[in-house]
């Protein structure tokens, strides 16, 4: 029997979380925690598995998020970090890189002609990088295109 992996799933709430939950079948059998940046009424999959961090809007709270990422990752010791953005991904990817954790990023469907800022920052840090639109390949030549809209 294979050991379940330990996953840290990082997302802001709203559409990014919906995109993360849309791929839930890929990690449902792993042992995962969710890191969210706003307290919401949790769907069943996230109940008793969620940690909330401070909500940063490209401000100094980002540095608080770095500390929170370090505390969470040091405690949970995941095998991988998966994120669909937005902002919360970056502090976790930075600390995750320092801890040699495998990192997976999925760029949002909403990036059609221009990538998100989060994607630009995550690309050099990620071990696996997915984009949903082929137009993103000119920004991220090593990305994997999964075009299923």
């Amino acid at each position: 029997m294979t050991r379940p992996l330990r996953g840290c799933l990082v997302s802001s709430c709203g559409g990014h979380l919906t995109e993360l939950l849309a791929v839930a079948d890929s990690f449902r059998s792993e042992k995962c925690i969710f890191v969210l940046n706003r307290r919401i009424l949790l769907p069943p999959l996230l109940k008793n598995k969620s940690i909330f961090i401070r909500h940063s809007e490209r401000d100094f709270v980002f540095f608080c998020n770095l500390l929170e990422a370090w505390l969470i990752l040091r405690r949970f010791r995941p095998d991988f970090i998966l994120s669909t953005g937005a902002g919360p991904a970056i502090p976790f990817f930075i600390i995750g890189k320092l801890m040699a954790i495998r990192m997976i990023y999925i760029e949002t469907l909403a990036s059609v002609t221009k990538p998100s800022l989060t994607a630009r920052l995550a690309y050099p840090l990620a071990d696996r990088f997915y984009v949903r639109n082929p137009s993103m390949l000119k920004f991220f030549p090593e990305a994997i295109v999964v075009n299923d809209l």
């Binding site: 559409g15 890929s26 792993e30 769907p43 469907l109 059609v112 999964v146």
Partner: protein, 172 residues
């Protein structure tokens, strides 16, 4: 005991952004007569004025600021018509439940979003027949009929899930 949310005729969703999007609410209410009733408007950061709330009281319109994930899915699944901002979460959930939403994109020039990515995203969704775009009240009646009548296969599987699962297996 938690009660199940009521079934609505039209579910309007502005997402959970804190930026206002009065254009969509105003357009929807102007086209009220053409909408399946009752109408539920999830307004997020676009809190309705006291005047708007008063006008709506005599009609089958109700407002809610946010709904939880389960209620959001319930409203999308059970309503006859979904109208929303051009958000990815809204479109994905509509796809999950086999719905064709009417969508209006938030625009940077009106302060509705930080950029115009919703404009591009909606154009892509429309080109793939996954959504119908609305810009003004006149767009709603015929597109509402089109959306209500459309029958879609609910989207359940995704190639990314397969690839991601294979990658995770390679990490063991």
């Amino acid at each position: 005991m938690i009660s199940k949310p009521p079934i609505v005729g039209t579910f309007v969703t502005l997402g959970n952004l804190e930026r206002r999007f009065d254009r969509l609410i105003n357009t929807v209410l102007e086209a009220y007569d053409a909408l399946p009733k009752p109408v539920l408007i999830q307004y997020g950061g676009t809190s309705p004025s006291a005047e708007l709330l008063q006008v709506s009281q005599g009609n089958a319109v109700s407002f809610v600021d946010y709904v939880d994930h389960s209620s959001f899915n319930h409203h999308i699944k059970s309503s006859s018509l979904v109208i929303g901002h051009a958000g990815v979460g809204t479109l994905l959930t509509c796809q999950l439940h086999g719905k064709t939403p009417l969508m209006m994109s938030r625009r940077k020039m009106f302060g509705e979003h930080i950029d115009d990515h919703q404009v591009e995203f909606l154009a892509l969704a429309v080109s793939r027949c996954d959504a119908l775009a609305i810009e003004a009240m006149d767009d709603i009646p015929c597109k509402a009929d089109q959306a209500v009548a459309s029958i879609r296969i609910a989207k359940r599987s995704s190639p990314i899930i397969v690839d991601l699962k294979n990658y995770l297996d390679s990490l063991r």
